[in-house]
Amino acid sequence: MKWLDFETIPKVILEREPDYPPWAVSLTNTLVNRTGSWRIFRPKYFDKTPPCNDACPAHEKIQGYMELVKQKKFLEGYELIIEDNPFPSITGRVCFHPCEASCNRGEYDESLGIHNVERFLGDYGLKRAKAKKSAAHISKQIAIIGSGPAGLTCAYYLAKSGYKVIVYEHFSLPGGMLRVGIPAYRLPKDILNKEIRKLEVLGVKFKTNFTLGKDIFLDDLKQTNDAVFIATGAHKSRNLGVPEEKTRGVYSGLEFLAQINSGKRPRIGKEILVIGGGNTAVDAARSALRLGILPKILYRRTRHEMPAVAEEVQEAENEGIPIHFLVAPVKVIKSKGRITRLECQKMKLGKPDESGRRRPVPIKGSNFRIKCDSVICAIGEQIDLSVLTDDIATTGWSISADDWGRTNLPNIFAGGDCVTGPKMVVDAIAAGKRTALAIDSYFTSREIKEEPNPEITLFSNLNIGYFELAQKVTMPGLNVKERKRNFREVHLGYNELMVYKEADRCFSCGVCNKCDNCFVFCPDLAVMKSDDKYDFDYDYCKGCGVCAYECPRNAISMEEEEAR
C-alpha cells in the first residue's frame, strides 16, 4: 500500500491550508509547466539574403534601404547604400538593375522599381548628406590609373579608410566612361560632377590629362606609391573587319560619343547607320537623334541577344529609331573617298556560342545595300594592353586578376573593364570596392569580410497570403517630342511620395521587418517582444512551427532539436 508523502505536496498548498476552500481551486499558474520539453523542432530567427541583394554585383543592401524609406529615413537609406556603392545617383540612372530581374515581387505582380528608389536616395544624399571631410591618417599612398567607375569607387573607399589616393585620368576631366561614354540625357554632367566633388572633399587628388604609357609609366608609379590600382577600362573600339572600313564617314561609336559628351558637335552626315547592339550603339543612335538626325541601328542577332539595357532599347524605339535585326555589314562601298553605301548580309541564328547567345550565321546570297553617308561602328570595345609593363600577367586580351583585383605582382591591383572586358557600371563599382578591401587587407593583413549569406529567399519561400497587389509607381519622364534636339535627362525621378509608395511594395524577402506575425500567431505565448527585436521563450515553445510558416518573409527557420 502506498502512503501519501506530504513532503512532495507543493509548498504553496501547505501555506494556504488554513483557508483552503472546500472545492478544488487553482492556486498558481501554469508557468511551472516547462512545455518546451515537448519540442522536436526549434524555431530560430535567421535572416536570409534577399534575391535583389544577391543579384546586385555590389551587394547593395536593397531590402535594408527599402525598409528605411518605408520609415521615411531617406538619409539613413543613403548612408546604407554608400556602404556598398558610393554613387547611387549614378547607378540609379544607368545601371541595368539585375536586382529588379531577380525581385520576387516580379512573380507576384510587377518587380519593384529598385533603381528608381536608389536614384531618389542618391540625389537626396547628394543634396542633404553632410560631406565627409578628408581623413587621410594612414601614411600609405595609392595611385589609381583611370577615373571610371572602378577607379572612383576604389578611391572613395580607400580615402574613407584613411589612405592617400591619387587618381590619374587620360581625359581633361575625371569620370572615365561615365563622362565620355554615357550621354547626358541618361546621366547629367552635374550629377557626375557632384559625385566627383564628393571624392575631392574626401581628399582624393585627381591628376587629369595623364595618359599611361605617355605621361606616366607603371614602373615609376610602382616606385613612388605603396600600391597601384589599374582601372583603365576598355576604350579601344573594335574594328568592323570588313573591306574598305578605313573610309571617310566611318566613325567609332566611342569617339562619336566622346565628342558629343565633351560638348562638341561631331561632323557627321544625314543618313547614319549604327552597327551594333550594345549600350554604345544605342547611346550613339539616341545621341544622333538629339542632333536632329534619324539613324538606323543594324544588329546581327535579334532583340533577345542584345547586350544593351532592355529599357534603353525600348526608349530608342519609342523615340522612333528603327532597329534592323539579323543584319551584318560585309563591305563599305565608297565613291570619291567617301562612303555612299553599306553592303550587308542577312543572318539567321545558329547554335549558342561561348557567351550562351545564339551565334548569327550568314544566309548565302542575301546581300543587299543600304544607302548612307556615315556609319557609326559600335560593335564592342577592347582593352589596350600595350601600355602595361611586361611583368604583369595577362590573358592575352585582358589583365589577369582574381575576384579581389590581385594581379601576379604583390602591390599591383587591377579591376573593372580592363580585367573583365566591357561590362556594366555596377560591375566596375563592385570591382573597385572589392579591390579597395584587398588593398586594405594587403597593408593591414585584415581578413576580407565574407560575401552575403548564401541562403537566398525565393518566391516559393514567402507566405504571399500577407501581401496585396500593388501597381508599380510609374517614373515620370519627358515625352518623345520634348527629347528632340536636346540632351535633357529623359527620366525625371520620383518625388518623396512616389518613393515611399514604391518602397512600400517591397516584400523584405528573408529579413525580419518587425511585422509582428510570429508574436501574433503564437498559441503558446512563447514569442517575447521587445522594442527592437523578438525572442523565443524556449522554456515554453512547443515547436509547432506556426511562426515560421506564418512569417511572410522566411526570416524564421525550424531546426531539429538535438537529442538530450
Partner: protein, 293 residues
C-alpha cells in the same frame, strides 16, 4: 500589413494544449479583447485540460469549470450573481467546444438565448470530440474521418449550422471568426462585449491532432477555409442584419482546403465535388441573406 492587436497578455504560457492548437490561440485573442474583468465558464472540452491540471491555471481571469451540458446556464447564473452584487462591469464568457455547444449543451444555450441572458457564448469549433479521442460530433463535416466514422464509412450527415440556429433566436449579436484574421476576431469580441444580451461567437479552431495535419498549418488552414467559402466570416445583429466580413475575390476550390488534412485523405473525386457543391450552395444562401450579389 501589420495586425493591430492589444499587446497585453491575459494568459500564461505553459498551458497544456497540443502544439499548433487553434483553441489555445483563440482564448489568447479573446482575452486580449475582453481584458482582465472577465469570468470564463468552461464545460467539459479541450479547454478543461488546456487550462492546466490542479492546482495550475493558465488564464489570468478566473475560470469556472462546469459540467458538459451547463456552459450557458452556469454563465447565466454567474451573471445573475454579479448583478445582485452590483458588479456590472464584468463580462461573463462561456467557452465551449463544438460537442458542448452543438450536441450536449444546446438546450441550455437555447434557453439562455431565449431569455437573452447577458453573456458571451463562444463555441470554438474543431469539428469533433477531440479531447476524448476524436469522436464525431454534429459539427463534423460531411465526409470527414473520425474514430467513430472511419474512412470506409465516413460521416454521412452534413455539419449542423449552429450560427444560423443562434441567429434564429434573434439574439443581439452572432458572429463567425477564425484564427487567420486576428483583427477580425478581436473586433468581434470587443463588439460582443459592448452589447447587452446573449452574444454568440463561432470560432473555426483547427485541431492538428484530430485533423491529421501538420501543426504549422494552424493559421493557413483557416485562411484556406475562408478563401474557399467553407467557413465564411460574417456577423448578424438581432437575427436580421447580416454582414459578410470577407468576400474572397475569387474563391479557391475546396480541394485546396481539404488536401492538407489527413481526415479528408480518403475522399474520392465525386465526394470532393459534392463538398464543393454544398459549399457553393451555402455560400449563395448566405449572400442572399446578406443581400450581396
Amino acid at each position: 500589413m501589420k495586425f493591430e492587436i492589444p499587446q497585453k497578455e491575459y494568459m500564461y504560457p505553459g498551458h497544456v494544449a497540443c502544439p499548433g492548437c487553434g483553441g489555445a490561440y483563440s482564448m489568447r485573442m479573446a482575452l486580449k479583447a475582453l481584458g482582465e474583468r472577465t469570468i470564463i465558464v468552461i464545460p467539459a472540452c479541450c479547454w478543461s485540460i488546456i487550462d492546466g491540471p490542479f492546482p495550475l491555471h493558465a488564464c489570468k481571469p478566473p475560470v469556472f469549470h462546469t459540467a458538459f451540458e451547463t456552459a450557458a446556464i452556469a454563465a447565466s447564473g454567474i451573471k445573475a450573481g454579479l448583478d445582485i452584487q452590483g458588479k456590472t462591469d464584468i463580462t461573463v464568457m462561456s467557452w465551449a467546444g463544438d460537442g458542448g455547444t452543438l450536441d450536449i449543451g444546446i438546450q441550455a444555450l437555447s434557453g439562455a438565448a431565449e431569455r437573452n441572458d447577458d453573456f458571451i457564448y463562444v463555441c470554438y469549433d474543431n469539428e469533433a470530440y477531440m479531447n476524448t479521442g476524436i469522436q464525431r460530433s454534429s459539427a463534423t463535416p460531411w465526409g470527414a474521418w473520425t474514430t467513430t466514422t472511419p474512412a470506409e464509412t465516413p460521416k454521412s450527415e452534413p455539419k449542423k449550422n449552429i450560427t444560423e440556429i443562434m441567429i434564429a433566436h434573434r439574439i443581439p449579436y452572432a458572429a463567425t471568426t477564425t484564427l487567420a484574421y486576428p483583427d477580425d476576431m478581436i473586433r468581434k469580441f470587443k463588439k460582443a462585449k459592448s452589447i447587452k444580451g446573449t452574444k454568440f461567437i463561432h470560432i473555426f479552431a483547427p485541431c492538428p491532432t484530430g485533423w491529421k495535419m501538420a501543426p504549422d498549418l494552424m493559421v493557413k488552414i483557416c485562411r484556406l477555409a475562408v478563401d474557399s467559402n467553407v467557413f465564411p466570416l460574417y456577423e448578424c445583429e438581432y437575427g436580421i442584419h447580416y454582414t459578410i466580413n470577407h468576400i474572397p475575390k475569387k474563391p479557391i476550390p475546396v480541394e485546396e482546403y481539404l488536401k492538407p488534412q489527413g481526415r479528408f485523405s480518403h475522399l474520392t473525386k465525386a465526394m470532393i465535388e459534392h463538398i464543393q457543391k454544398s459549399v457553393n450552395f451555402e455560400w449563395e444562401l448566405l449572400k442572399q441573406r446578406a443581400g450581396v450579389s
